[in-house]
């Protein structure tokens, strides 16, 4: 019991910290691409502290608060199910479908909170976010189907284990296709260009986020950090072979090593998203839907069918 609690706290702290570092990396790399100096890497932490330490906060009612809390809670829940090296708690229950759903739930909480504020831009942003979700769901679904059918299991941990012996997923053609589609989907999950339609700054002034300030926004920053960590972790687990190091004698070293390997893979996933995001303008929502329903869907469906054969 104590051990589980300890693990949970460690995972949570690690995920939050690395997530914030990821946010900082995103800002720095984007700045470098713009030939700017960019903020220090710990900038997101400063932002969060600042937001949480605001002296006055507003609320639009119970749902407005609960939606935010629910979003963070659901993100923590999702994090617990994803295998993190050898120290994850509920990895035995880390079911592909379950995690895919759990990674979408926080958005629902944010939508509820945003809509309860009654701001038309929040409504517009939620509409765009939902249509983006609708658009990405098809390739995402096919990618998951491809994985499940290739490995014959839904357990993420077993998939990771299988990759330790049989090599990474992306070395097989069907899963390579699935990975490509999933990576395009990840672009929209991170909310980066060209699919940052839901939070179009200057167009609908951050959409769902428009009414959040002070500690609400601070909690959302933490949630975003953990979500970044979780999504990249999920991708590197199912497609990039995860990390289960057993080379060293002491379990501590093994854990650290596997965490390090995972970190490298996660950053690789993140950098792709940043590069794509930094050089593309924004789609309109129907363009995004048409795009996702065309190429990624075809790629992922091909992958799924090949995996099923």
């Amino acid at each position: 019991m104590i051990e589980i609690a300890l693990k949970a706290v460690l995972i949570l702290l690690y995920a939050t910290f690395v997530g914030f570092m990821f946010m900082g990396i995103i800002r720095i790399v984007t700045a470098r691409i713009h030939r700017r100096v960019g903020p220090p890497i710990y900038q997101p932490i400063l932002d969060t502290i600042k937001l949480l330490s605001k002296k006055s906060n507003i609320t639009h009612g119970l749902i407005y608060d609960f939606g935010i809390i629910y979003a963070l809670g659901a993100t923590i829940l999702a994090l617990m199910f994803i295998p993190l090296g050898s120290i994850s708690i509920l990895r035995a229950y880390g079911d592909l479908i379950l995690i895919t759903f759990l990674l979408e739930i926080p958005m629902l909480g944010i939508m509820f909170a945003a809509m309860s504020s009654g701001n038309p831009w929040a409504g517009l942003g939620s509409q765009r976010a939902l249509l983006t979700l609708l658009a990405i769901q098809v390739p995402l679904g096919f990618a998951i189907v491809a994985l499940a059918e290739f490995y014959g299991t839904f357990s993420t941990y077993q998939i990771v284990m299988a990759q330790q012996t049989a090599g990474w997923s992306i070395t097989y053609l069907p899963l390579l296709l699935a990975a490509v589609a999933y990576d395009l989907v990840l672009q929209a999950m991170f909310g980066k260009e060209p699919f940052d339609i839901m939070i179009a700054p200057g167009e609908i002034s951050l959409g769902p986020m428009v009414e959040f300030g002070g500690k609400h926004m601070g909690i959302l920053q933490i949630q975003h950090a953990i979500a970044l960590f979780a999504e990249t972790l999920f991708f590197s687990n199912i497609f990039l072979g995860g990390a289960v190091v057993t080379a060293f004698a002491s379990p501590i070293l093994n854990t650290l090593a596997s965490l390090g390997i995972l970190l490298i893979k996660q950053i690789a996933v993140l950098l792709i998203a940043i590069f794509i995001g930094a050089i593309f303008p924004r789609f309109t929502i129907d363009q995004a839907a048409r795009f996702y329903w065309k190429w990624p869907t075809i790629i992922a469906a091909t992958g799924a069918i090949l995996a099923a054969l």
């Binding site: 100096v37 903020p39 600042k50 428009v210």
Partner: protein, 191 residues
């Protein structure tokens, strides 16, 4: 509740190093913002970032002349921001009317209507000047003299009196209702 006074220096540092700007470009100063944000003078070094939504913004830049119509929006937007919040005015127009000193439709003293922490002289101040002003406001936040939001709370009656003298009593409700008759009978004229 936890006693947070212990952490106050950390909070001040965070506030100083992550000023989010509400991008409400009123006048010609708006065009001085892009060079500040982009690769020449990169404001993001100081953790500053333009931010469309005032709810999460700290620093309100009033860039250039202000008309009564704009001032209404500025006041409403300013009151949406959570405390602590800071205001920085660019150029001589908000200070004293500047070249619009005798224009019937430009505000002469911005600080009669909302409190201002830093005013940058010049018409229009160059980016360097704006950066200087930003440094100024940063050290003011550090030594706690950037207290315009407190002043606005304390002297709210005075500010409200000035606003009402300029716009007339109940201007918020009037402004909100202004277009409604025309929105309702929009169809009327287009037979």
């Amino acid at each position: 509740m936890v006693d947070w006074r212990l952490f106050e220096p950390l909070f001040e540092f965070a506030r100083k190093r992550s000023l989010w700007i509400v991008s409400f470009c009123t006048g010609c100063g708006g065009i001085e913002m892009p060079p500040l944000m982009t690769s020449r003078y990169d404001l993001e070094r100081f953790g500053m970032m333009p931010n469309p939504a005032p709810r999460m913004a700290d620093l309100f830049l009033i860039t250039g002349y202000v008309t009564p119509k704009t001032l209404k929006r500025i006041i409403i937007t300013y009151e949406l921001q959570p405390d602590p919040k800071y205001v920085m005015a660019h150029g001589s127009c908000p200070l004293n009317g500047g070249v619009y000193w005798d224009a019937y439709n430009a505000i002469k003293h911005i600080d009669k209507y909302i409190p201002v922490d830093v005013i940058i002289a010049g018409c229009m101040p160059r980016p360097e000047a704006v950066m200087d002003g930003i440094n100024k406001i940063m050290e003011m936040i550090e030594n706690g003299t950037a207290d315009s939001w407190k002043r606005y709370k304390e002297n709210y009656e005075w500010y409200k009196k000035n606003q009402d003298e300029l716009f007339g009593e109940g201007w918020r409700e009037r402004e909100a209702r202004r277009w409604i008759p025309w929105l309702m009978e929009r169809k009327k004229g287009e037979e």
